[in-house]
């Protein structure tokens, strides 16, 4: 409690000392800020759903992949282009993405190009990226994996394909 200062009419020769905060007395609870923050963060990770960003130009495929993921209790954001995905990521609108799953072939930027952008970005490179494709082209698969893709799924994607990705989501 601050010491009550008597109002003075004339300026004092020396500035009045700042009101003192009472020092903790025996029995007061101690605040331990660092540990409290760590505990809060841990709880948040456990309670919050993992967030997946799904990128596909096909509305049918977006609906299916989103449902598969939501049925496994993931939070899902769907976008219809790689460009849009990068925009949202760069704008910091998707700060907590745990995984990106993207179609390979899309008009404009491909999923492969999206993968490269993500892996070249210091902020995004830790996010696992999974590529989906309706075509089984071994060169393509190799290239994606070499570029750092977490996995490559053949379309049509099924729930069992996605469940094996679960352990990879950080």
């Amino acid at each position: 409690m601050a010491a009550a200062a008597a109002p003075s009419v004339s300026p004092s020769p020396a500035p009045a000392p700042a009101p003192k905060v009472a020092s903790p007395k025996a029995g007061d609870r101690k605040v331990v800020p660092v540990d409290a923050v760590e505990v809060e963060v841990e709880l948040k990770l456990e309670l919050e759903e993992k967030h997946v960003l799904a990128v596909d130009d096909s509305s049918v495929d977006r609906a299916v992949i989103a449902k598969i993921l939501r049925s496994s209790k993931y939070r899902v954001t769907t976008v219809e282009s790689a460009t849009r995905a990068l925009e949202l990521l760069a704008l910091g609108l998707l700060p907590d993405v745990n995984m990106i799953i993207t179609d390979y072939w899309m008009p404009g930027m491909t999923g492969y190009e999206l993968l490269k952008h993500v892996k070249e970005s210091s902020e995004l490179r830790e996010i696992p990226v999974v590529i989906m494709s309706s075509e089984n082209v071994p060169n393509r698969i190799t290239r994606c994996l070499e570029e750092g893709a977490e996995d490559f799924l053949l379309k049509p994607v099924r729930p069992s394909d996605v469940s094996r990705l679960c352990s990879r989501i950080r």
């Binding site: 096909s58 509305s59 049918v60 609906a63 049925s71 309706s134 379309k155």
Partner: protein, 152 residues
């Protein structure tokens, strides 16, 4: 468990769609996803499919008129359509798309026209059959969506 007539009818319609090759296993995968949170999921996805496929087929038709012998353009559109078909298990349509793409690869414009006509027909038939199926399902009530025809 006793099935009502409508439920039996729905099961029978579905079985014939599979037996005649209109649909494949992927359609079942879509149905398995339907749950309390999305009680009309299958119908919604099928509806998206028809929106998508109608648009793509219009694009292809226009491309065939305005860009004669532009086989790579036709193929790109057909690849997208095939992808959609594959995603919902529209098996006969998917096969016709593959056929079109092969003929396209041979640069056979007339063959492509014929294949495209087949595709249009398959599209129409599938739409009609699925509409009937969903109509009966709706009339039969919620219980039947969980039922699988014997042997599925």
């Amino acid at each position: 468990m006793e099935y009502s007539n409508l439920q039996r009818q729905a099961a029978s319609l579905k079985k014939s769609l599979f037996d005649q090759g209109y649909l494949d296993e992927q359609f079942c995968q879509i149905e398995y996803l339907q749950d309390e949170a999305s009680p009309n999921f299958t119908e919604e996805v099928v509806s998206l499919f028809f929106e998508n496929s109608t648009r793509l087929m219009t694009n292809i038709e226009q491309a065939m008129e305005k860009n004669p012998r532009d086989f790579s353009r036709w193929d790109v559109n057909m690849q997208q359509l095939k992808g959609s078909c594959s995603s919902i298990g529209a098996s006969r349509m998917k096969n016709e798309c593959t056929s079109f793409r092969n003929i396209c690869g041979d640069e056979n414009a007339e063959g492509c026209m014929r294949s495209f006509q087949n595709l249009k027909r398959e599209h129409g038939v599938l739409r009609q059959k699925l509409e009937s199926y969903f109509q009966v399902l709706r009339q039969a009530g919620p219980a039947v969506t969980a039922a699988r025809p014997r042997g599925m």
